[in-house]
Symmetry: C2
């Protein structure tokens, strides 16, 4: 059987050129005993894709020229020679930018970065690539387990109209916090406030003093800052943190295009405030929590069914359009989760 895949042609140097990957045809290997064949239904585009495309060590093994591009796939088992996996089972895993993947059945575990799941009958599959997938899990883990959001907390979320930010805002609201997002443009701010009920929104494209805008939105300081952006946004938030506030580092998308080029990275000047304000700043990766999805999936599904949690996906049809879509993650011209629909 033949399939198409995106393989690495050359490494990214900062800003994406759109030629880093090459669209190739290749054969799908035959299944050996213990193997499972998974078809890609949806491929999510994530800021970390840019890190994986760089020739710079990160938290996962370095990819090589000629490798299939790494990516998170919601896939369906099409053939199985492993007793633990049946045809039709659904799974999240880093199966890469390809139409089919053949993997060892025993590797489909949280420890290996894969989570099998059973969709709720009343919830569409699209919800599982955003609110109920790794994006929603990240928002939940960052907001609740790391950030310990509580009733009455004053919460700031950057990248609020982005995939993780959208979910983080709504989870904080569901936990009784007052939530202000930072997003780019009136349209995104209107969506956050009017459609999702977020308490306030700072349009960073319409302000030349982020710190002052935060000070107006948080006269008593920020109790919890959920950071998807890093860079100058993090600096401005540090200036506006309340005593004993918490900062959750979920991502630093503003810095990924400088990955590997230390001189271009933004320097955060206000880290000295960690002591004077007694702040805790903590990073996390959802990979560490994959074995705990059973704890929070029921909560997320229940919020979704009650309307407390909504999602926005930007669907791009066809795996062949994945490379062209990737830069949209960094230009901000999409809403919510950017997904390649391969169904």
């Amino acid at each position: 059987m033949q399939q198409h895949a995106w393989i690495i042609n050359h490494f990214a140097q900062g800003r994406l050129e759109g030629t880093e990957l090459e669209w190739v045809e290749r054969s799908v290997p035959d299944l050996q005993p213990g193997d499972v064949l998974i078809r890609t239904l949806m491929l999510t585009l994530d800021p970390s894709n840019l890190l994986w495309l760089s020739e710079e060590p990160d938290y996962l093994p370095q990819l090589e020229i000629g490798d299939v591009m790494r990516g998170l796939v919601l896939g369906r088992v099409e053939q199985s020679r492993h007793p633990g996996h049946k045809v039709g089972d659904l799974v999240f895993a880093l199966l890469g930018w390809q139409q089919y993947a053949v993997v060892r059945g025993e590797a489909l575990t949280p420890v290996e970065g894969a989570v099998s799941f059973h969709p709720h009958p009343d919830i569409p599959l699209e919800a599982y690539v955003s609110a109920l997938g790794p994006t929603g899990w990240s928002a939940y883990v960052g907001m609740r387990l790391v950030g310990e959001v509580g009733e009455g907390d004053a919460v700031l979320v950057s990248g609020a109209a982005g995939a993780t930010g959208l979910q983080a805002c709504q989870i904080a609201k569901a936990c009784g916090a007052r939530v202000v997002g930072v997003a780019g443009g009136e349209k995104k701010c209107a969506m956050l406030q009017q459609e999702l009920g977020i308490d306030g929104c700072i349009d960073y494209k319409a302000t030349d003093d982020l710190s002052a805008a935060m000070a107006r939105a948080f006269p008593d300081g920020i109790d919890l800052y959920f950071d998807n952006v890093g860079g100058p946004m993090l600096d401005a938030a540090l200036e506006n943190m309340a005593l004993r506030g918490r900062i959750v580092i979920s991502g630093s998308i503003s810095q990924y295009q400088s990955h590997g080029d230390r001189e271009k990275l933004y320097g955060v000047r206000n880290t000295f405030m960690l002591a004077s304000k007694r702040l805790r700043m903590e990073g996390f990766l959802i990979l560490d929590y994959l074995d705990r999805t059973g704890e929070f999936m029921p909560q997320l599904e229940s919020w979704l069914l009650s309307g407390a949690l909504r999602y926005r996906n930007t669907l791009v049809q066809g795996l062949e359009n994945a490379q062209a879509a990737l830069p949209r993650l960094f230009s901000g011209d999409h809403l919510g989760k950017l997904v390649i629909d391969c169904r």
Copy 2:
């Protein structure tokens, strides 16, 4: 009764000029019912003195021109009109750079920033301004309560030959960690290793690549970084942290001379690593832990008596020499705790 005091003449602008304070004679007020008269025995010089001398909001109320300079005093009750305090009682409090202070007896509580104590009969009073005073408490709280140092941890301490650093190194050793300090100069490094038994020392004055030096000292990464320094040292440590490492922000002495001048502050470029390495970075102030000294003083005294905890004080005789001694905190030409001896 007359006394001498240092009052604020003008605010500091970055580097100290040595004219910010004025040495004045003034009378000691008569005691009212409930008042206590405390004589300054020893005044500690601390990096935060520079923050307090600046016209820039910090974690304590802003001082005004003409105010007595704020400072931490180990004092003795000389007269008392408060039933809770007897002549001869010893106390730590922010009584200021003056020979005597008259305070309300009920204000001498941890909540108000004061701790009364009874020295162990076998321990000299000098130990209580360093290893067994707020400096030692900071080291203990930062290392154990915030940093959660444990057996086998690979620990880095910056400003290791400074007052807090010295104690932090030894406390980590006493808890079974492997400890490498960063200090300026061969003499300090030799003292740390040979006299205090610290496992290694990076002489920052003899290296032009701090990060590489740390990588050599920590081939498996740093589990716990106790930071007294901030700035480029923090950036280099971030590069060398192990997965799930902890960074305790005790101070940022490298940045205090830029306090209030945002452009001069060093920008930390590697904060994005908090997520990829799942790091926790947390600041603290000892002021928040003054009501818990009863928990850890017995441990610190026991370590001191057993020889596990040693201290180094640099004593300067006479309160009149305090202003001239203050810049020594930032030039690094002292060892351990810089103390004005007023006895």
